[in-house]
Amino acid sequence: MIKDITLGQYFPGNSVVHRMDARFKLVITMLFIVMLFIGSNTIALEVGFVFTAMAYLCSSIPVKLIAKSMKPILPILALTTILNLFMITSGMPLFQWKFIAITDEAVETSVFMIVRILLLIAGTSLLTYTTSPVALTDAIERLLSPLKRFKLPVSELAMMMTIALRFIPTLIEETDKIMSAQKARGADMDGGKLKDKVKAVIPIIIPLFVSAVRRAGELATAMECRCYRGGEGRTRMRQLKSGAADYVSLAITVFFLAAVIFINAID
């Protein structure tokens, strides 16, 4: 079950979206997030939906995968929905039972929030699905490189991200293994009160932590053996190159963003 997490995973391919410059994809994703958050009515959200759908159509990422990436956030989604349903008291009551009331506005806001969160996850996942982590960190490094002047270790931060992304699947696998090992020894993982649940997590976290520290030490040595000496003088096999598709996509995104701002304004 823990292996179902697809967040931050890359699915190699050769679509237009895959071949786009990672820097542009990153900027477009940020504009997309802005688009979703300033969009304050249904039409604005529909524009966001059309944009996401278009992006997915161009990316040849199977729809099944989108559904899969939603799974881990279902609890968060349920929680926000419940909070919205019960906390919003303005509007017409649709349902009343003692002091609990659900209004039409509450339902509307809940649906709105669900769609917004789903779009947010779908859109940002598309970035990591179609961009190799190395290209992604490269793009971040390049976009942040002006900050090098302020002595911010941008290359080193990018390297840290590369490694973090590389080790997510490894550590997930390891967590699975430790959990099975503890269960085999009779540990009760899913039952009980909150206190018991917290207690059950400790025998997983500690071995995981110990192993992560050991891995880090070994990885550092292996990196030294391969002549790693920080970002200075490093070259890249894959150069980030921007082309027509990148500028066109950016233009389309800006157009959609403008549309959302316009819709907001006339509302």
């Binding site: 190395v134 590389r166 490894t170 292996a222 096999m237 150069q239």
Partner: protein
């Protein structure tokens, strides 16, 4: 001929008040050699390995790689490019989430031109038969495949020597075979000097030279058949011998007179057939 790698009176301790992990160790490796290093856990094999590319520096004595003293800080990256290192756990050596990006890592660090990196990465991946996996993520590969990717990441630097610290210890029999075949080919076809630390006696038996370490010193340094014929000495330092050698040893103990230098199954079978006919 001057040896490619040489340790002279090498002393090493991990911290000043610690005991000597390596003491007065003398060893040299010629270019193109294939050597196995054996020794009980904690005898200092990994410590010696890390001296070969200046990850550790001698506390006393000196190590020379291709004539360069490893203490020479200006040449440290020359040394690391000449002597690559492969470790036990392939997972902890792979830096990037895509195979080919990982193989490119060392070359990127060395500041090689992008087009040249591309060429050498393809070449290295083909050399370890992992070219068709170049776009895979490491976690989609088997242990043996991951270890071959780690080897590709090293040979992309075009090293003259590769030190392998128990590269097959975490692999299943299939992975072990793949890795050993790859290493053998690198030695034979590319002339890369191989120093293989292992505790599989069968792997050591296939090398041309076997070194046995004990308590931070070199105990034996000879051909596999000479080394493994000394069954009692090997057992006294906590090591095994190949099954064939063990068999010959036991048979001789019970009165037969077989050649103690037998290390391959064929030799053993031939000797037994001769004895029985």
């Amino acid at each position: 001929m001057e040896a490619f790698a040489k340790a002279e009176k090498l002393d090493f301790r991990y911290s000043d008040d610690d005991r000597l992990v390596l003491s007065g160790l003398d060893i040299s490796f010629e270019e193109g050699e294939f050597t196995a290093v054996l020794g009980h856990n904690g005898c200092g094999k990994s410590t010696l390995a890390k001296h070969m590319n200046a990850i550790l520096l001698p506390s006393g004595g000196a190590v020379y790689i291709d004539g360069i003293d490893t203490k020479d800080e200006d040449k440290i990256f020359d040394i690391r490019q000449k002597v690559g290192m492969v470790f036990q756990n392939p997972d902890n050596q792979i830096v990037a989430s895509i195979v080919e990006e990982d193989v490119a890592f060392a070359l990127e660090n060395l500041g090689v031109e992008p087009s040249e990196i591309r060429r050498r990465v393809d070449e290295a991946l083909k050399a370890v038969n992992m070219y068709e996996y170049r776009n895979h993520a490491p976690h989609q590969l088997s242990g043996g495949q991951k270890q071959r990717v780690a080897i590709a990441g090293i040979i992309a630097m075009r090293p003259k020597c590769i030190v392998m610290d128990e590269p097959t210890a975490m692999l299943d029999p299939v992975g072990r075979k793949e890795v050993m075949a790859t290493v053998k080919r690198l030695n034979e076809e590319y002339g890369i000097t191989i120093i293989l630390i292992t505790h599989y006696m069968e792997e050591a038996a296939k090398c041309r030279r076997v070194i046995v370490m004990d308590k931070g010193k070199i105990l034996l340094d000879d051909t596999p058949s000479e080394v493994f014929s000394q069954v009692e000495l090997m057992k006294s330092v906590g090591l095994d011998v190949p099954q064939v050698t063990e068999l010959v040893y036991e048979l001789n103990k019970s009165g037969l007179k077989l050649d103690t230098h037998i290390i391959t199954e064929e030799e053993c079978a031939d000797a037994l057939i001769e004895l029985l006919s």
